[in-house]
């Protein structure tokens, strides 16, 4: 027999994914802004009887008439029109208790369908903080369906909710089809929502003070933007300043592993593969774990507190100027972590051209995979000193690279909106969620997940690319007096590319690193590390940190051109694949590749020749 299904539905940011995680033990991303979940996710829930039920988490929606691709998914699943999926037997409507009147509008629309419905009155703790005392029984009578108070993030009310699901399941089996209720119009529904909410509120004090006070400061017309800017600045300073001791320790650990392998193992093909390929290559990327963790700690806190939505509010003016809305801000901000979730997050944008523009510029947001590339070059070429007021020059350069990416994205969006994605600029309509104090355990889980993704990439994609490169670099063996890199297959391939990139100041090793870096940007770092390890004349040189090797071999203009290249170059297979999927074809990914490589080439060239002219 097919497993029975239940689906979580409700307004955006009601806590559906938090409830999904609590009920199934899954670890779906949760954050405090509307539109975190953009696709259906399934998990398994076990009833007290031992019967398993498939639980489906759906994107939030304000109604059954969808305006954006993510809401479309919700509508189709609820109505049983989603390809390859049966209509869920039970619908669990998740309501934000502190925003009852608004959430009851969609809830009534779902209840009208006549399917078995359970209401999870979520975030009752936040409602109490807001001075709202609710009567679930009154709500239950008014709606005619079971109402269970829950606090998903604190795992409260779950047993009662599961019991209600079990009861509704057996009822659904007894009378399939249900009893649709008379359909009423939106204004009628809204009036009913108002009356039901009033009837369920036992006592109410005026607006929550903290919420409006924080908005008063953070959304202040003149103070808000500098606060946002200062916060971003602190993040990039912290990425350098706080991570250095940890990164140095990791670097030393990798170095001693290489030294140990060299002294313990007999000289052999396998030893070289291990030291030059795996340890030098993959190790050179893994040492950036502390930076990644620090960056994500900031991003996760901003998402969980509700500040991210305020950042969208503050940035809307700028986005409007280039023909986008603040709605594009969150996908673009997610792209600072990785362009893949960023591009997926565009599903919450209703306007197709707005969405396409956002997808096309998302890869210019500096993703965490660029961090190893930037950090290794900055560490090797930018002096470690302050420029006054305790601001580190290295952090400043990193900040500047992020800013160049943002400006690039804005300019490209401006051009695209006047050419290929021409159309009326769409507006910005977005719910601003209430501020919440994040739970430490949720933050730590999120951080662990990001760290794990990074390490898994190092162990799979970066490992593979580096080992293949090492093999291509090691054969055929060089004649005495000849450089191994020049003699190898990879060296010969790079000769061809070098002709193309020589005019923008790139050397043979960079040309060599660019090809495997198509797999992922971090591979540029591991490839350089492997290339220089293979090329090292003796073991003392091989043991040098990558940064020291680079600073003795590259000129400053070359290093700066390399940084400029990576601001734009779309060197990430996964981004290209997800763009193809989200735009249904090869047209837009091809366009993206061409224009981004074009920009990368031009800007690296400008950077190189300007630096040379300035005598750097």
């Amino acid at each position: 027999m097919r497993m029975r299904t239940a689906a979580l539905v409700g307004n955006p940011n009601a806590g559906k994914s938090a409830l999904f995680n609590a009920l199934t033990g899954a670890r779906q991303k949760i954050a405090n802004y509307p539109g975190v979940t953009v696709e259906r996710k399934a998990g398994r829930l076990v009833l007290p009887s031992g019967e398993p039920v498939e639980l489906i988490d759906l994107p939030g929606s304000y109604g059954l008439d969808a305006t954006s691709p993510d809401e479309e998914v919700t509508r189709k699943v609820i109505l049983g029109e989603f390809a390859g999926e049966a209509q869920p037997e039970v619908l669990i409507v998740v309501l934000d208790a502190s925003n009852l009147e608004q959430h009851l509008v969609f809830a009534q629309e779902v209840i009208e369908l006549g399917r078995p419905v359970i209401v999870a009155l979520n975030m009752v703790d936040l409602a109490q903080r807001d001075g709202l005392v609710l009567d679930p029984k009154a709500l239950e009578q008014a709606l005619g369906v079971p109402v269970i108070p829950t606090v998903a993030v604190r795992r409260k009310g779950l047993a009662e909710l599961i019991a209600a699901i079990a009861k509704a399941e057996s009822k659904a089996a007894a009378e399939p089809g249900g009893h649709p209720r008379p359909h009423i119009t939106l204004p009628e529904r809204r009036l009913a929502a108002h009356n039901i909410a009033q009837g369920a509120i036992l006592s109410e004090t005026t607006q929550h003070r903290l919420h409006s006070r924080m908005d008063k400061l953070l959304l202040h017309p003149w103070l808000g933007p500098p606060i946002l800017f200062a916060l971003l600045f602190v993040i990039f300073q912290a990425v350098f300043a706080w991570a250095t001791p940890f990164a140095d320790a990791l670097d030393a650990a990798v170095g001693s592993l290489i030294a140990m392998a060299n002294s313990v193992l007999p000289a052999s093909f396998l030893r070289d593969l291990l030291t030059e390929g795996v340890l030098a290559g993959v190790g050179s990327v893994v040492v950036f774990l502390p930076q990644i963790v620090i960056l994500f700690a900031f991003i996760l806190v901003m998402e969980a507190t509700g500040y991210m939505a305020r950042a969208a509010f503050l940035m809307d003016r700028l986005m409007a100027f280039v023909g986008l809305s603040g709605r594009s801000f969150i996908p673009l901000l997610s792209s600072f972590a990785c362009a893949i979730p960023g591009i997926m997050a565009t599903r919450s944008i209703a306007d197709p051209k707005d969405r396409l523009t956002t997808i096309l510029v998302a890869p210019m947001m500096t993703c965490s995979a660029r961090l190893p590339v930037y950090t290794v070059i900055i560490g090797a070429f930018i002096p470690h000193r302050t420029v006054g007021w305790g601001i580190g020059l290295q952090g400043l350069v990193l900040f500047a690279l992020y800013v160049v990416g943002i400006i690039g994205a804005m300019v490209v969006a401006l051009v695209l909106r006047r050419s290929v994605t021409k159309g009326a600029a769409s507006g910005f309509i977005m719910e601003l969620p209430k501020y919440q104090l994040p739970r430490l355990s949720d933050l730590l889980i999120g951080l662990w997940q990001r760290a794990w993704i990074f390490l898994r990439r190092a162990g799979t994609i970066i490992f593979t690319a580096t080992v293949i490169l090492w093999l291509l670099l090691s054969f055929p063996k060089a004649a005495p007096g000849e450089s191994q890199v020049d003699a190898s297959i990879a060296g010969k391939i790079a000769n061809g590319l070098e002709v193309v990139v020589r005019p923008i100041g790139f050397n043979h090793e960079i040309a060599l690193a660019l090809v495997p870096a198509m797999a992922a940007r971090e591979v540029a770092v591991s490839s350089l590390a492997t290339t220089y390890a293979v090329d090292a004349d003796d073991e003392d040189e091989a043991a040098l940190a990558l940064g020291d090797k680079l600073s003795s071999r590259w000129s400053l203009p070359t290093a700066l051109a390399f940084l400029a290249w990576f601001v734009f170059a779309p060197q990430c297979l996964s981004t290209i694949a997800v763009t193809r999927r989200e735009t249904n074809g090869w047209k837009w990914p091809t366009f993206m590749l061409l224009y981004l490589f074009g920009l990368a080439y031009v800007f690296a060239g400008i950077t190189y020749w300007s630096a040379v002219a300035l005598g750097l």
Partner: protein, 79 residues
């Protein structure tokens, strides 16, 4: 008076909305969020710098960010 002209912090009721000034899906989204005739609203914050765009509107207990152009389409009466 339009919602855009309503002084910050003053409570009002939306009396009429000129939906023809808004793109259909934007109108639908505003209605879905409760910004429709009869809604009790207040302007909580006005956006950044001299443009004062977007606006943060209180609808019931919810804050919604909208553009000035949306607020200009909504007639309100102060309460």
């Amino acid at each position: 008076m339009t919602l855009e002209e309503l002084p910050t912090g003053k409570r009002a009721r939306i009396t009429a909305v000129d939906w023809s000034l808004l793109a259909p899906e934007e109108g639908q989204r505003l209605r879905a969020m409760g910004l429709d005739e009869g809604a009790r609203v207040a302007v909580a914050h006005r956006g950044v710098f001299a443009g004062r765009d977007p606006l943060s509107i209180m609808v019931g207990r919810m804050s919604v960010a909208i553009r000035r152009s949306h607020a200009q389409a909504m007639q309100v009466e102060a309460l």
